[in-house]
Each structure stands twice: as C-alpha cells, then as structure tokens.
C-alpha cells in the first residue's frame, strides 16, 4: 500500500473519533525504528517522546524473539512451557518483597482486571475500592470502574466494579477514608493518567501502612512508571513500599510484543485461586512463549544496561528543560513535573497545547497530549527507555523551537 492508501484506510476504518488526536496524517507513515527514533516513509526522523515503551530494535530482544518465533511462538497450553516458567521466575525475582506469583497477560488493562478479580475473590464481604483522582488504569470496563477521571466515569451508567475517588497526593484523606470496609486502594506510585504528578515524600508509606492496618489490598499500577522509568527498578522502591499487587506493563514487551503482568503474594493468590479450578485463571495467549521470551530479554537489558540509572539521568535533563521553559514562558506553562523519563508540562489552555504538539511534530518530536478529560492540558513526555543522550538533546531542541514559536518570544525574569 502506498502512503495515500494507508492514510485512506485509517480514515475509513480506524476509530473516527480518535483519528485527529492520534496525529494522523501529520505524523506520516512509519517504516522503521531504532532506539527512540522512528523513520517515516518520506525519510523524516521523529524522536518518540510519546510511547512510554521500551524502545525499538534492541538487538538482544529482537534476537531472542526471532528465535522463539522460529521454535514455538504460541503455546499448546496442554504441556509445560519453559519460556513461561523462565519469565515468571525472573519477574518474581525482581519484584519487591514477598511478591512472587505472576499472572502474565496481553495488556495492562488485562492485568488491572486480574488485580480487581483478586480483590473481589479475596474480600468477599468488602466492596469499597478507592482510586485516585486523575488516574487511568485501562479501558476495559472493570478498569474504567476504577478510573479516577470523573468526566469519563460519568459517561457510563454502571461498571462491573465501582470505586470512590480520592484527591491526589493527600495522605490525610487516605487515613480518614480507608477503613475496615475498604477492599482495596488502587493508585499509581507516580501518577500519569492526567499529566504527571509525583506524590509528596512519605505518601506511599502512609498509604501502605493504612492499608496494612485495616487489611485492605494495595494495588500499585506501574504500567507507566515501572521497570526503571522513574530511576528505580519499580517506582514503589523509592520508599521501599511493597504493595499487595503490582501491575507491570509498558516496557515489559521489549518494544516487540504485547505483554503485561501483575505480581502478587502467595497469600493473596492462594486465598483466591488456591484450591480452585485453574481455568478461572486461564488465558488463550497470555504468557505465550514469544512474549515471555521478549519480556525476559527486556528485563535482562533493563538490569544489565542499567536503564534505571539512564532514566534518572535523562529524566533530570528533561525536567530541567521543562522547568526552564516554565520560567521562560511564565503563566502559559502552569506546572512542570517529572520522575525519570516520565515528565510533563501543564499548559494554560488546551488549544495552545494542541498547537505546541503540532509544532513539536513539525520539528521532529512526537509528544503526548494528556489530561484533557480532567480539564488539564499537559504536554506529556514519555520517551522509550532506550533513548540516548543524543536523541534526548535533539528532542529537547525540537520542543524548545515549538515552545518559542507558540508561546511567543521568551519573557525574561518578571519583576513584581
């Protein structure tokens, strides 16, 4: 298919309501990618600051996946699968504390659903689940039931599971509301559902101890902030907090295949699935050999190539740039936040944010537009873990140009 045919196919068959926002056709057609750079059919190079993934074309990951694809990509499911065994053992090893039972699946939304099933199965007499304002845990209906974005919740008459929304980052509110009738609290250790927000120091610890005190399950959704992205192996590590269920996704597929998982403790798993038919826990393609091979390779690269440290360094560079633009452009950039390679700047209005995004693309950087449903327009920056310093610099230059064009000439330090 040529470019025109490709774009026509999207126009006629993709979700019409999401097309413009997905950037098509401005971004063009991708034909190759490596590291954090995507090449289009016209030869343009775009730096990816949007995917929040692992990165493209890592030789070790690609080699392992190619090999597994040649041997056995999908499982018969009637015999033992060695790649599955290897993956669950490896993730159990890396997961904090007593988290050691792994449920591999095809997407972060499935992992969230699996976590909610654990909550339902674990606490038969408690119904209350708390979620945090602005959080987005997936688009399946259970996950939407624990979505913290009111504008989205309001669109549906009901959900299979329901949640009450607590304000972000407020430890007192957690202490006051989480009680013996609370089945679970689901949160992101670094919030990224609507822009980026880092909870204040001590917040993670408080939520953990409150849940422990009342016997509520703590679900940490690290789809967007796990696997080294925030400079720690897992974002909860920054306060040495161990949740009851940890959701992992995003970069887990090594930039090659879709895979996500949750990890929980033996105690939680056994109470729900211990003496039960294993089919309750089944999946046709979850934990397939090729995806498991990709995940093991990705985890190895993250550890061996110290991607967490690289993310911390790159993140410092990103946040520094964002803060610089914030001071340059005064009230038009309202806030800047970041933890490692998960950063964002909140703009004063949605229209401006859209233009900034378009100009960034024109200068060769793909960025996110987040938080719209929460009424807060954020330019989101979530480069792949593999982004190199050179690519990061190029991306920052592109953004610099975009901000300059859209937000006007730089305003020096304002006097009172």
């Amino acid at each position: 298919m040529n470019d025109a045919e490709i774009l026509a196919a999207y126009a006629e068959h993709a979700n019409p309501h999401a097309l413009r926002a997905l950037g098509l056709p401005d971004a063009g057609v991708a034909v190759a990618a490596r590291g954090a750079t995507v090449r289009t059919s016209t030869g343009r190079e775009l730096i990816d600051l949007a995917s929040g993934g692992f990165g493209y074309g890592h030789p070790h990951v690609c080699a392992r996946v190619a090999e597994q694809m040649r041997t056995l990509p999908l499982s018969s499911r009637v015999f033992f699968s060695e790649p599955l065994a290897r993956f669950v053992a490896r993730l159990a090893e890396l997961a904090p504390g007593d988290l050691e039972v792994v449920y591999p699946c095809n997407s972060a939304a499935e992992a969230t659903e699996g976590a909610l099933k654990l909550v339902r199965g674990y606490h038969r007499d408690r119904r209350r689940i708390f979620t945090i304002a602005g959080a987005h845990h997936g688009a399946t209906l259970g996950a939407l039931g624990v979505c913290g974005i009111t504008a989205l919740r309001r669109l549906f008459p009901s959900f299979p599971v329901d949640a009450a929304v607590l304000p972000f980052g407020d430890a007192d509110v957690v202490e006051r509301n989480v009680d013996r009738w609370t089945a679970a609290v689901i949160f992101e250790p670094v919030a990224s559902g609507s822009g980026v927000r880092v909870p204040p120091p001590g917040y993670l610890g408080t939520v953990r101890s409150r849940c422990t005190a009342v016997g509520a399950l703590l679900i940490a959704d690290e789809t967007s902030c796990g696997l080294g992205r925030t400079g720690h192996r897992f974002a909860v590590d920054r306060e040495a907090v161990v949740p009851d269920i940890l959701i992992v996704g995003g970069a887990l597929g090594g930039g090659v295949l879709p895979i996500a998982a949750y990890v929980t403790s033996r105690e939680v798993n056994d109470r729900v699935y211990g003496r039960r038919d294993p089919v309750l826990h089944g999946s046709t393609t979850g934990g397939n050999p090729a995806a498991c091979a990709a995940a093991v390779a990705a985890l190895d690269v993250i550890e061996n190539e110290l991607l967490a440290s690289r993310a911390a360094a790159g993140g410092a560079r990103l946040l520094g740039a964002l803060e610089g633009w914030m001071s340059q452009y005064g009230p038009q950039i309202v806030a800047a936040a970041g933890a490692g390679l998960l950063a964002a700047a909140r703009l004063s209005d949605a229209r401006t944010a859209q233009v900034v995004r378009a100009r960034a693309l024109a200068h060769g950087a793909l960025v996110r537009l987040d938080g719209l449903a929460s009424g807060e327009p954020w330019i989101g920056l979530r480069p792949p873990l593999l982004i190199s310093p050179r690519e990061l610099d190029a991306a920052i230059r592109s953004l610099d140009l975009a901000f300059a064009e859209v937000l006007g000439r730089p305003i020096r330090q304002r006097t009172a």
Partner: protein
C-alpha cells in the same frame, strides 16, 4: 530449564493448582511444533486436535505467517502512538472488505476478552439509559470483568460477583426466552454462533436471524462473538453467514493469530460508531490502548487471513468437518455408554462424553496414543464435549489417526465398569482440594 525447575516455577510463581494437575498427569514440556504436529522435550510427537483452543487454525508455524512475522520483526515491530503504519492499514482494509454490511470500523485489541470489552463499552455509550445485557446460559465471552459479567457459565463468574446488576441469561436457541429478556430493549445481546465452552451447540438455523430481528425492533445492539468460530472453523468464513445476518459488532481472534501472535479485533458498524462520538469529546484518546494493534501482530494477522481466504480453508473445514464427524460417530455407535453424541458444525466439533471423569480419561488415553484433543475445561458440564479441533488444513489420514486413537481410548476405558466412572466423577468434582496422592490414584484409574 530442567523439569523440576519448570515445575517449581509453575508451582511458586504462576499457578499452583495448574502445576498440581500437570504434575499428576505427568505432562511433559513442550519443545516445538510444525503443522499439525507438536513435540515435547522427550521427543514424542502429537497430532494436534486441540489447536491451542483455536489459535492453530493454520497449524503451527505456518511458513507464510512465519515469513511475515520475521520480516516485520526486522522492519518495525511496534510503532509509537500517532504514526500510521502499513500492516495496520492493510488489516483494517481486509477485515472491512470481508465482513458484510457497514461493519467497517476496526478496533484492535490484545485478546478476545478485550475485544468483547470494546463492544460492551460501545454499547453502553451508544445506548445511554440502558444497562441491561442479554446473553446465553453456558456462554463464554472472556475473563475481564465486563466480559465475565456476561459469561453464562456460572462457575466462572461466581467467585467474582457481583458484576453487572442487569445481566440476563437465556437458554441458547430459545427465541421466546430471548424476546422476554430483551423486553422493550436492552443495551446489547451477546451470542456465540456456536456455543463453545464444554458444549459446542450450533445455533439452530434461523435463531440468529430471529434474534437480529428482535434487536432491530427494540433498538438493541447485537454483538456476535466469533472468537472461536471466526475465519473458517464452522465451514463458512464467518459463522454469521450461516444465517446471513449483520451484527452491530463482531469480535474475532484465535483464527487471525495465525498461530503466532496475540491479537483480537472488534469490528463495529459505521452507523453505531457514529453514535458514540460524545464519549470522545473530552479526550479522543480516552480509550486507546497503547499496546494493541502493533505492526507485528497485524502483519501476522494479514498473512493468516490471506492463507485462509486464498486456500478456501472455510470450504476445507466444511468438507473435513463432515468426515471428522462421521468418524466420531463410529465411537458413539460402538461405545454408547461412554460416548453420547457428536455436536458442532464444520471443524468446530467434538464428542460428548458420559461425564467429566470420562472426558479426562479419554483425553489422557488419547495423549498416550499420540493425539491431543481439546479438553473442555468445563467442570460444571454434566456431559462435557471433548473437542476435536484440528487445524483447518487437516487431511483425511490425520483424521483417521485421531479417530483410531479415540476408539482405542474408549476401548481401554470400557474395560472398567461404567459405575466406577460415575462414582469417580463425584470425587473428581473436588479434585482441586484433594491431596496429590488421591489425584495420582485417579489418574491411574483412567490413564
């Protein structure tokens, strides 16, 4: 990894209940596959009449899909959001062209469950004010909470309920019951064209057409789950063709994985998609899943579709399905106490067995004879159907071999009095709570 390590990983880090069952049954480690055969780590070969619950419709490692996957792996496996790519475009085009009516909008998902969720979500948004679902008793639609809530098999839902406050389940094939449940209108009706699970009940001719009419009259959306039936297995490319209906949404998976990748698609009518724009007004990307629909999985799906269409595998399934069912009926005639009948359509078929213990016994005996049949995994079915789902490319001599294995297995089981299986069946209902030693005893009884 050696077997003890693999077993330990399953036991401590994955699924202890499954580890026990596999251990007791003496399951080997899978090592590879090609076409209709797969191999274990001891070098044993097995004829695949399970198809990994439907994903190996083309057999394992079909060369065209393999070539497409390896090529795409080198070129571009994953693309960032906001950039178009060719395999995704191609897949959307192909699907829209193959499906009837204005089933033109393609939503990509990671699994059948997710595909169902997309349809459910769309129905709620397209029918504001309606929260009722109608689905079939004994149906199966998925494991995520929304899909689970409309899954008729009660034992799968019960540990996680309450889910939907207004989900009604009606007997499959009963138009009056369906009409009563829909009433003046529901958000949607969900149906499989052939009830899967442990039953494999084909829709009576005219049933789906009647349900379509009921939905039209009441403005209810009709969601057809073709995760198992889609892409040829029942003898038509899509099972909706048997009654010639156009649903509002259809979910496809398994068949288009090409035996290589996880993928599902939900194709929705243009007219329905145009009704849900309001849900995207605040944030057009509110429901976009970052991981679904990569170029790699789409390239595999495109190759799989090409093979299925070019080689008319639906036609093969119709022909070979007849041949297979004839073979299975020989078993029913010879062993009427154990083998009850042969339900299904095309190559979506199997043999209904006396009870769950007999099903397990037949499955294990067939394994010893080098054939893997599709275990129903339905512990609640009184007489479950052991599936015979070969790849759509299956040949007559392979069917003959499977039928011979079945006959041999039933002959072996017939040596013991049937009463033993009836008693044993009661015990096996508690198998997940029994110690390993008792399970091993049971395995020796039937294996």
């Amino acid at each position: 990894m050696r077997r003890p390590e693999v077993l330990e990983a399953y036991e401590y880090h994955y699924n202890p209940a499954l580890a026990r069952l596999f251990d007791v049954a003496g399951c080997p480690i899978e090592a590879g596959a090609r076409g209709i055969r797969f191999f274990d780590d001891t070098g044993e070969q097995y004829l695949d009449f399970a198809c990994g619950y439907g994903v190996f419709g083309l057999g394992s490692l079909h060369p065209r899909v393999q070539a497409a996957v390896q090529q795409q792996l080198i070129e571009l496996a994953v693309a960032p959001p906001g950039v178009a790519c060719s395999p995704v475009a191609e897949l959307m085009r192909k699907l829209a062209a193959l499906l009837p009516g204005d089933l033109d909008r393609v939503f990509l998902a990671g699994s059948g469950s997710e595909g169902i969720e997309i349809a459910l979500r769309t129905a709620l948004l397209a029918r504001p004010g309606r929260g009722r679902w109608v689905a079939a008793r004994k149906g199966y639609h998925g494991k995520t909470l929304g899909a689970l809530g409309v899954t008729g098999q009660t034992h799968l839902r019960a540990p996680f309920e309450p889910l939907w406050s207004e989900a009604r389940f009606v007997p499959y094939g009963d138009v009056e019951a369906m009409a009563a449940a829909i009433g003046r209108g529901a958000a949607a009706v969900l149906l499989e064209p052939v009830l899967g699970g442990g039953y494999i009940t084909a829709a009576p001719p005219g049933y789906l057409a009647a349900v379509r009419a009921l939905c039209d009259r009441t403005g209810t959306l009709l969601i057809i789950d073709e995760v198992q039936t889609g892409f040829g297995r029942t003898g038509k490319l899509f099972a909706i063709e048997h009654d010639g209906i156009v649903p509002d949404a259809v979910i496809l998976s398994k068949g288009i994985t090409g035996g290589h990748v996880p993928i599902a698609v939900t194709v929705i009518r243009e007219s329905v998609v145009q009704q849900v724009g309001h849900a995207y007004a605040a944030d057009p990307l509110a429901y976009e899943a970052d991981s679904a629909g990569s170029p790699l999985v789409c390239a595999a799906a495109c190759a799989a579709i090409d093979v299925i269409v070019e080689e008319d595998l639906a036609g093969s399934a119709a022909e070979m399905g007849g041949y297979l069912q004839d073979g299975l009926r020989r078993a029913v005639r010879r062993f009427p106490a154990l083998a009850l009948d042969v339900p299904g359509q095309g190559l979506m078929t199997g043999i209904r067995l006396r009870n769950c213990l007999v099903e397990r016994g037949v499955w294990m005996q067939m394994l010893k004879r080098g054939v893997v049949a599709g275990f129903s995994t339905n512990s609640q079915a009184r007489s479950p159907v052991l599936r015979f789902f070969p790849p759509l490319t299956v040949e007559r001599d392979e069917i003959d071999a499977a039928v011979e294995a079945l006959l041999g297995s039933l002959e072996a089981l017939e040596r013991r009095p049937v009463l033993l299986y009836d008693i044993g069946n009661v015990v096996q209902k508690f198998q997940h709570r029994l110690p390993r030693s008792v399970l091993r005893l049971g395995a020796r009884l039937v294996g």
